[in-house]
Structure formats: structure tokens, C-alpha cells
């Protein structure tokens, strides 16, 4: 019988993290950014049917980058968890913090115990009643949760995009301003992105019970004009 080679846990974790990071870096990036009426989510996504950004609950949205089947499975788990909580308790008892924690546990568990870590990063965004209560939870492949303010960048080339975001971002800007800022950050200096390359959605205060809205290409183009 052959014995498996001993691999120290440090090395094992590093290998897994490298593997996951490589998978994520291959995909295109996504930005979640605050504007005066809520949160804007912009993903670079040429497909108009395979979504990276979607609705989880009344005030909560989900965005994922990396391997589609993996983050879509997480999205579905989130919708189920939120709808179950809302059904068993009340709609007011569903919040992003609790969802982010549940995601972190699942992703952490898979990272350490499964044969392959998830090659995804996700964002759980919640629009509050006021701008101070807006939440952006960025969760990594290993279950690390980051509670980010103003904006959050996920996916390949995230560091460079984050830098461009922090130099362009103005707090309290309107939807069009936030969209232009996110687009400039995603594209960088030597690329041009148009409305059809993007998937755009908002979580908007004062939009009724369900705050999530997809922004269609025509509206994206007019916001960018």
C-alpha cells in the first residue's frame, strides 16, 4: 500500500489559496459602489443571460466573480436562506450580516475540507434606510469576510481597479457619477468599455419593498452620456 506524502498544513493552505486565486484572476472584475440613493453594482459581463449580479431579498443583492456554476450555487443558497428566514420569522429579520456569516462558514468549510476550494469571490450588498446603514460584505474563497465602506472590488486585477476607484470615488455622488467612476476603474487607461460589455443593477432606497433593479443597456448608455 502506498502512503501519501506528508504535506505540511501551511503548504496545503497556500496551495489551495493559490489555486483559488488563479481561478478567480482569470475572470473579469466587478465593482459595488455607493451612490446617494443606494448601491450600484457593475460587472464586466458580455453575456446578457448568465448573470453575475442578482437579487437575494428586499434590500439585499448578490454579486459573484469566478467560476459561474460555483457562485450561482451560492446565490441560490442565499435566496433560499433569505426566503426561509423571512417566511419563518419576518421580512425584517433578513439581513446581509447574517447571510454573509453563513456564506463565510460554507466557503471556509469547503476551503479546508473539500478536495478543491471554491474559485469564487462574492459580494453581499444591502441598502439601508439611510446611507450610513448601507453594507458591502466582500467574502473571499476561503471564507474571509470584509465589511467594506464606499466601494468594493472583486475579481481579476482587483488591486489596480481598487486604486483607480479610490482616486476617483466621491462620496454622495449620483447614479450617473457612480457609474462613470466604476466604468473608468474597470476599464483602466487603455481600454474602452460600452454599455453592452456591462451588467448593471442597483439597490435603491425608496424603490418600494423590493429595492433591486436591473439597469438595461439603453439606460446604462444614457447614464454614461
Amino acid at each position: 500500500m502506498s502512503m501519501p506524502f506528508y504535506v505540511p498544513p501551511e503548504q496545503q493552505m497556500k496551495d489551495r489559496a493559490d489555486f483559488a486565486r488563479k481561478g478567480i484572476a482569470r475572470g473579469r472584475a466587478l465593482v459595488g459602489v455607493q451612490f446617494d440613493q443606494g448601491i450600484l453594482l457593475v460587472a464586466e459581463n458580455p453575456s446578457s443571460t448568465l448573470r453575475k449580479v442578482s437579487e437575494i431579498y428586499d434590500r439585499i443583492a448578490f454579486a459573484g466573480v469566478g467560476k459561474y456554476n460555483e457562485f450561482d450555487q451560492l446565490r441560490q443558497a442565499g435566496v433560499r436562506a433569505a426566503d426561509l428566514t423571512g417566511y419563518q420569522y419576518s421580512r425584517l429579520d433578513v439581513d446581509a450580516r447574517s447571510l454573509a456569516n453563513q456564506y463565510a462558514q460554507i466557503m471556509g468549510q469547503i476551503f479546508t475540507h473539500d478536495s478543491k476550494p471554491l474559485e469564487v469571490e462574492i459580494l453581499v450588498a444591502e441598502v439601508g434606510l439611510t446611507a450610513d446603514e448601507d453594507r458591502l460584505f466582500h467574502i473571499l474563497y476561503d471564507g474571509t469576510v470584509m465589511d467594506e465602506t464606499n466601494f468594493s472590488v472583486l475579481g481579476g486585477d482587483a488591486e489596480a481597479i481598487s486604486e483607480r476607484m479610490s482616486s476617483n470615488f466621491e462620496s454622495g455622488c449620483n447614479l450617473s457619477g457612480a457609474l462613470k467612476c466604476a466604468l473608468a476603474a474597470l476599464a483602466g487607461a487603455d481600454r474602452q468599455l460600452s454599455a453592452d460589455d456591462l451588467e448593471v443593477a442597483t439597490l435603491q432606497r425608496g424603490n418600494g419593498r423590493r429595492c433591486f433593479t436591473r439597469v438595461v443597456d439603453a439606460d446604462v448608455a444614457s447614464l454614461l452620456a
Binding site: 437579487e55 443558497a77 435566496v79 433560499r80 426566503d83
Partner: protein, 256 residues
């Protein structure tokens, strides 16, 4: 949070999800007496469909609630009106609303109107064991079909039987009277105001002849729920307008 493997995945159905995670209510074992909700009507008119229902719930010969809402929005383009045991009826509406929203979020698009009607049929059928114990729930489902641009109506029986109606439908204890009034007054391509007046008149007559149906309660300011579903979506008719409609019915009855 649950992650399901492909072979035990409950799919886009919220009801299947409840079963998968073990949240469901058992049917009662013996016959029990509970509050009942009464008359609802729905009719097709030029712009779509109109649904209306009185506000009374009764337990035996007593009035248990004066302000019950039996006509409820299911989603942007559809509504449910329910007669029968109030508790299971309200629970069924809540589950139905959630089911439509859950499907929409899971799949990224809404169910077709026909799909929604079938879904409700399965829920009514699921309630059959409880119906045998006296907890029958008999809904009407109406909505605006965005695919063919018309309003459509369905009624159900306790076994989940689903019947599409071309003109109008009435359900509940006062349905004989309400249905007759609508039947006599109904015309193809009625305008919105005529449809509102006819539905109000039918509830008035049902309340006049059936003790379990509540009439307009001007003293407390409680009026039936009346709503239209058109290409513009669900719109409820406000109390001020209903007060005017019932006032004119009352003066007409007085002048007879």
C-alpha cells in the same frame, strides 16, 4: 444555509424547499370550527380583470373579524381572492406570494400567468386533507397575461380542480347572490368604472341576503377590497372612491 447536491435539490419551488428542510404544518385529525372568510367576485373587463371581496370573517353565527383582506396582490400582475377557512387561506396566500417571488429570484424571470395558476392549483390540492376536516380553501386567481395582453381568471375547487373563466366568477357563502348580480350586469368590454360599480353592487346584494357577508361599514370606514389588474399592474381602488360608489347604490335603493 443549505447547499443541496444535484440529486436532492428542491429546484425553484419554495414549497419543495420547505419540505426538504422539514418546515410544514400537519393537517388536523378531526373536524374543527374556525373563522371563515366569505364572498369574493372577479370579472374580466376591457383593460384586464377586477377582483373584489367583502371584509367579514365569521365563526359560526359570530363575526370574528370586520377588516379581513381576502383579495390580495400575489405579484405585480396577479392577485388572489380567497373564501373558506381564514387561517389556512391566509397561510396559502402568504406561501403563494412567496412561491412566485422565490421562483422569480431563483430563475431570474417570472412564471407565466398560466404557470402561476397551475402552481395555486397544486397548493389547493395539497390542502385537501385539511379540507376534509372542514378547513377548505377555495381561491380565485386573476391576472394580466403579458404574453397575450389580456386579463385572465381562474377558479378552483377543493381538490385543486382549475377552471378558466371567460366572463366572471364568484366564490364563498354569498356567491349565489353576488354571482347573479354580476351575471345580469356583465357586458363584454365594460369600462373600468362600470366594472367597479358592478362588483360593488354584487357585494352589496350578497351582504343584503347572506349573514356571513359584510356590507360597506360607513360607521367604521371599512369598505370591501376592490382592485384592478391591467397592463399597468395591480391597482387597488381607494376607499374614497368606494364610499362614493356605495353612496350612490344606497341612494338608488332608498329611492325604490
Amino acid at each position: 444555509m443549505h447547499l443541496f447536491s444535484p440529486d436532492n435539490n428542491p429546484g425553484s419551488s419554495f414549497v419543495n424547499l420547505l419540505t426538504a428542510v422539514g418546515v410544514h404544518a400537519p393537517a388536523p385529525e378531526s373536524k374543527i370550527d374556525v373563522p371563515h372568510a366569505t364572498t369574493c367576485v372577479a370579472l374580466r373587463y376591457a383593460d384586464g380583470v377586477l377582483m373584489a371581496g367583502d371584509r367579514r370573517a365569521t365563526a359560526g353565527n359570530l363575526i370574528s373579524h370586520r377588516g379581513m383582506e381576502k383579495v390580495v396582490q400575489a405579484d405585480n400582475y396577479s392577485g388572489v381572492a380567497i373564501a373558506g377557512a381564514a387561517g389556512p387561506a391566509m397561510e396559502m396566500i402568504r406561501l403563494f406570494q412567496l412561491q412566485l417571488e422565490h421562483y422569480e429570484k431563483m430563475e431570474g424571470k417570472q412564471l407565466s400567468l398560466e404557470g402561476k395558476a397551475n402552481q395555486l392549483s397544486m397548493m389547493v390540492r395539497g390542502n385537501l386533507p385539511a379540507a376534509m376536516q372542514g378547513l377548505a380553501v377555495v381561491p380565485i386567481f386573476g391576472g394580466f397575461d403579458l404574453l397575450d395582453g389580456t386579463g385572465r381568471l381562474w377558479d378552483y375547487d377543493v381538490t385543486g380542480g382549475r377552471y378558466e373563466e371567460r366572463e366572471f366568477v364568484a366564490t364563498g357563502s354569498g356567491s349565489l347572490h353576488a354571482g347573479t348580480v354580476v351575471k345580469v350586469g356583465w357586458r363584454t368590454d365594460m369600462g373600468r368604472d362600470a366594472a367597479v360599480a358592478l362588483a360593488c353592487r354584487s357585494l352589496w346584494e350578497a351582504a343584503d341576503a347572506d349573514s356571513a357577508t359584510g356590507g360597506p361599514d360607513a360607521l367604521r370606514g371599512i369598505y370591501p377590497i376592490v382592485a384592478t389588474i391591467t397592463s399597468a399592474g395591480w391597482q387597488s381602488v381607494d376607499d374614497a372612491e368606494l364610499a362614493g360608489v356605495f353612496q350612490s347604490i344606497a341612494s338608488e335603493v332608498q329611492a325604490r
